[in-house]
């Protein structure tokens, strides 16, 4: 069976191999075996497929990154997305997975240099969609944490919720995200670094601002470090780090699903 499939795949692979490359490369000619009916030409007909492919993938990026598009304007966004679609077409038929390389592409995109915050806003939007589609899981209750004997508290580790994401930015990416995800008015934004926490404890995705040290703390816990280790890292990052406040906040936001044992 195997060899028959391999053999015939090779033998007839020419129609797709001829048809595919021009779909994302407007410089290529119409494939030689593609014709119109009767004696008609096939150029504009093949272009229908080219257009479907490129426009539908640009539309997919616009749907995943609406705030990014609002910040750049539609025309700028679609031109940038067209470059990306042609350079990095999707490798999965699941389009909600597309665009993971788009923030890095934006960072390197020369026309976006005057918008240094743009890639971080895109990163936050991609994290939002990941949280939206992540596996469902019950979040850790404050009672479960309260049941831990105080003397062992420092040694516990946490298991992250599948939807939880921390997105750090040297720019006010969170404020820009919040202001531009909808059609609401655009106000003043203070140009300061912002860390965001994305969670989906149940049906709705929440995006919160993290206090000083909070991102370092949560990233350490998500990476499997103990509560003591994570707290020490957070204090190193910020002297004003508020440990009880951050613990209460992470439970309320639904960052974790379980406490794992002290040994790791």
């Amino acid at each position: 069976m195997r060899s028959a499939e391999d053999h015939s795949t090779r033998r007839s692979s020419t129609f797709a191999a001829d048809f595919a490359p021009g779909l994302t490369d407007p410089g290529r000619p119409t494939p030689p075996n593609v014709i119109g009916p009767g004696s008609k030409k096939a150029g504009k007909r093949y272009d229908v497929y080219r257009n479907n492919v490129t426009v539908s993938l640009i539309d997919a990026l616009a749907a995943i990154f609406p705030a990014t598009q609002r910040l750049t304007g539609v025309e700028f966004f679609r031109a940038m997305a067209r470059f990306h679609v042609r350079a990095c077409p999707p490798h999965s038929p699941l389009l909600f997975e597309y665009g993971r390389d788009f923030p890095a592409f934006i960072s390197a995109y020369e026309y976006a240099r005057e918008l240094p915050y743009l890639a971080d806003v895109a990163r936050l939007e991609r994290a939002w969609l990941d949280a939206y589609h992540a596996a469902d899981a019950l979040t850790l209750s404050s009672q479960a944490l309260a049941a831990i004997p105080p003397e062992t508290l420092g040694d516990i580790r946490f298991q992250a919720h599948p939807a939880a994401r921390v997105v750090r930015s040297l720019f006010p990416a969170l404020s820009l995200f919040v202001m531009n995800r909808g059609d609401g008015p655009i106000g003043q934004v203070e140009f300061a670094p912002e860390d965001a926490l994305v969670t989906r404890p149940d049906a709705e995705v929440f995006v919160r601002s993290l206090p000083p040290g909070g991102a370092v703390f949560l990233k350490a816990l998500v990476d499997g470090q103990t509560l003591d280790q994570a707290a020490n890292e957070a204090f190193d990052a910020s002297e004003s780090f508020d440990l009880p406040g951050n613990i209460a906040g992470m439970i309320e936001a639904g960052v974790f699903v379980a406490i794992s044992s002290g040994d790791h």
């Binding site: 994302t24 030409k41 229908v48 997919a60 589609h133 596996a135």
Partner: protein
């Protein structure tokens, strides 16, 4: 090859998680989440169809929506990205995701396209055309067999809309579809709008095409809107756009099909420039009136023997 033959085939010995709503004689619509508040605000009749890929997620709100809809309505699971018409083997990972959805939601109808969308690693997000010849026939029949073996039931294969032809085509689309169905045991999804679109684009008579189409294998019908463009010679080129109401000539073709075949589950597809729910619902109601008209006629003909 496959011994999964009956079109409406469920395994009656399995415990159903959801009610086994029948879909025969009903019209339905694409399910768009934007319409949910309107759909759930009042009682609805008919069935809903979803694109399988939109629910191939680990979790999240889409599954909750689909569970709610499936509890109250018959469901049609319509695959868009299996790339059955391509020369390369079916993506096993994608097929497994598809199988799990069929198992989880127990849809009344399961369908896919006579088209391809992936080549090597790249997914093109479009239903791309293939030449019709013995080589492609062997691939398509084997791919459908593989899908049907995986999900344990036959699928309905949809006729494509197309804008180009191939110099290496050696058989007609209908001969190709007939041969695929014979070899794989699949049923057919007749998209009447695709027939109207391809007829203009390829220069054939849609009435002639439908008179030759194996209507006895049709388990579902699709209707949708199309958009006009021009070809290289300035002639009319129709685009299968799914962004507007069903065209009058498509309604006429549809009524001819139902008149000669009898009622088949009929779906109004609408995928972009979405209208209010009431507009989509009235399109489905128009299809239902035609289905009901010929259901009565078919019953009467049967009663008269």
């Amino acid at each position: 090859m496959a011994d999964v033959i009956h079109i409406d085939g469920r395994d009656p010995t399995r415990d159903l998680q959801f009610p086994a709503y029948p879909v025969s004689g009903l019209s339905g619509t694409s399910l768009k989440h934007e319409h949910l508040p309107a759909i759930e605000a009042e009682p609805q009749v008919g069935y809903f169809e979803v694109h399988a890929e939109n629910y191939m997620t680990s979790g999240g709100p889409p599954h909750r929506v689909l569970e709610r809809i499936r509890r109250d309505f018959p469901l049609s699971l319509h695959g868009v990205c299996m790339s059955i018409g391509g020369p390369q083997p079916i993506d096993r990972l994608h097929l497994e995701r598809f199988r799990r959805l069929v198992e989880r939601y127990e849809p009344a109808l399961v369908s896919e396209h006579l088209a391809w969308s992936t080549h090597q690693e790249v997914f093109f997000n479009d239903l791309l055309p293939l030449p019709y010849n013995e080589t492609t026939l062997a691939h398509v029949a084997r791919h459908i067999d593989e899908v049907q073996q995986a999900i344990g039931r036959p699928i309905l294969l949809e006729n494509p809309s197309s804008y180009v032809a191939f110099s290496d085509t050696t058989m007609s689309e209908i001969d190709f579809i007939r041969a695929v169905a014979r070899r794989s045991g699949c049923g057919l999804l007749l998209d009447v709008n695709n027939v109207a679109v391809s007829a203009v684009n390829q220069g054939f008579s849609p009435v002639q095409y439908l008179s030759e189409f194996p209507l006895e294998l049709v388990g579902e019908i699709h209707l949708a809107g199309h958009a006009p463009q021009v070809d290289d010679e300035g002639g009319l080129l129709l685009i299968d756009s799914h962004d507007r109401a069903v065209a009058d000539e498509v309604w006429d073709l549809y009524e001819k099909v139902i008149g000669s075949r009898g009622p088949a589950p009929t779906l109004i597809e609408w995928d972009s420039d979405l209208p209010e729910w009431s507009v989509l619902r009235s399109e489905a109601a128009a299809a239902q009136r035609i289905l009901d008209k010929y259901a009565v006629a078919t019953e009467r003909a049967r009663a008269l023997g």
